[in-house]
Symmetry: C2
Subunit: 207 residues, 2 copies
C-alpha cells in the first residue's frame, strides 16, 4: 500500500536483458530513497524486436555493439560489487519465466521472483528457460512450483503477457529496462533510472 | 602541451550526432577538472553504419528509437541549460565538415571548430553540409575559409579521414561519441563520459 499522492513509476522488464539485471538489483533501494512507488511490469522484447525486423537481440546482429554491451555491463556490475557473467546462449528464452512473472505480478511477488531469475541467469550461469531451474526459485519464495506452472500456462496468463507486450509497443518501448511515468514520459536503460525517478518526483512536487 | 604522465582520452566524434553535441559542450570542463588530456578525433559514422547494413542512421531505421533519442537528448540538454533542436533533415551530411575537422585537428583548432559546427546544427538549426554555413565559423576562428576548404578537399586530408574511420572500426567503435583510453578501453555515449574519465585517472593512479 502506498499513500495517495505518492509518485509512481512503471518498471518494464524483459527477463533476458543484461541491463535489466543491473536495474532490478538497485531500483528498490533507489526508489525508496526517492519516495517513489514502483510497479514492476514483465513483457517480452522478442515480439518487439520482430516488429523491427530482428530475429534475435540486436547485440547478436551487430557484434561490435554486442561486445561493447558485455564489457559495459561487466564494468557497471563491478563498480557496484555485483557478479556478472554473459549467459551462453544469449539471449536466453525468457517466455516461460515471463509467464511466471505475469502470475507473480498478480499475486504480489514479482520483485523477488524477477531478481531471483536475473541473478540465476547473470550471476550463477543457469539456464532460466528450464523449469527445473525456475522451480526451486519459486519454492524458495514459499509457493508450489506445480501450481504456479499451471497458472503460468493458462490462457489467461498468456493473454495478459501478450497484452502487456502490445501495451509496451504502444508506449514506444523498444528495449529493457524501460521506465514509464504516469504522464507517459519514457526512460530507457539502466543509466536512465535516476533521471526517471527525478522526473516523477519533480512532477509530484509541482502539485 | 600536457605534462608527461597526464592521463589521456581520445574523443571520437561524428559531427552529425546529437549525443556528440551534448559531450562536446562539456568534455573540456569535465576533463580539466579530472586532470585528463583529451585528443579530439573526427571520423565518419556513415561507412561504419554501412558495414552493418544500414543506409542511414539507426534512429531513422527504427522510428521508436529515433523518437526516444530526440526526447532524451532534449531532456538532457534542458537539464544543462543547453538549447537543442532536432535538425531537419537528420542526419545531416557531415562529410565536408569532417574533412575540415581533419584539417583543424592537424592545426590545433578542432575543439572550437567542432563545437561551432555542433552548435550551428543543433542550437541554431543551420545546415552544416553547406560551405556558406561553415565558412563564417572558420572565419570567426581567424582562418581563411578558402584556404581551409582547399586543404579539406586535398587527397591527403581525404585519406586521413578515411584512415581515421578505418581505425575507429578497428577499435570497435560503432557510435558517437566514443571515448577510448590508451589501453584500448572503449566507452560509448554521452552518459559514459564520466566513467571514461574515471577509468583513465584510476589507471594512472595505479602507477
Amino acid at each position: 500500500m502506498t499513500e495517495p499522492g505518492t509518485p509512481r513509476l512503471t518498471f518494464w522488464l524483459e527477463l533476458a536483458s543484461t541491463y535489466t539485471y543491473l536495474s532490478a538489483m538497485r531500483i528498490e533501494a533507489l526508489a525508496q530513497a526517492a519516495g517513489v512507488a514502483v510497479d514492476w511490469q514483465p513483457f517480452l522484447l522478442g515480439p518487439i524486436f520482430k516488429a523491427q525486423g530482428w530475429s534475435t537481440s540486436p547485440f547478436n546482429i551487430y557484434p561490435a555493439k554486442g561486445r561493447y554491451m558485455s564489457r559495459d555491463v561487466e564494468r557497471r556490475a563491478a563498480s557496484r560489487g555485483l557478479v556478472f557473467h554473459m549467459p551462453d546462449p544469449f539471449p536466453q528464452n525468457s517466455l516461460f519465466a515471463a509467464r511466471i512473472a505475469t502470475v507473480a505480478a498478480t499475486h504480489g511477488w514479482l520483485p523477488p521472483f524477477a531478481k531471483a531469475v536475473l541473478a540465476a541467469q547473470f550471476a550463477h550461469r543457469l539456464d532460466v528457460s528450464r523449469p527445473d531451474v525456475l522451480s526451486p526459485l519459486i519454492a524458495r519464495l514459499g509457493f508450489d512450483p506445480a501450481d504456479v506452472f499451471a497458472e503460468a500456462e493458462s490462457d489467461d496468463t498468456k493473454a495478459r503477457l501478450r497484452a502487456a507486450t502490445a501495451r509496451a509497443l504502444q508506449l514506444g518501448i523498444f528495449g529493457s529496462p524501460s521506465f514509464v511515468a504516469e504522464d507517459g514520459e519514457l526512460f530507457w536503460g539502466d543509466d536512465r533510472l535516476e533521471p526517471a525517478l527525478s522526473w516523477v518526483t519533480a512532477r509530484m512536487n509541482e502539485h
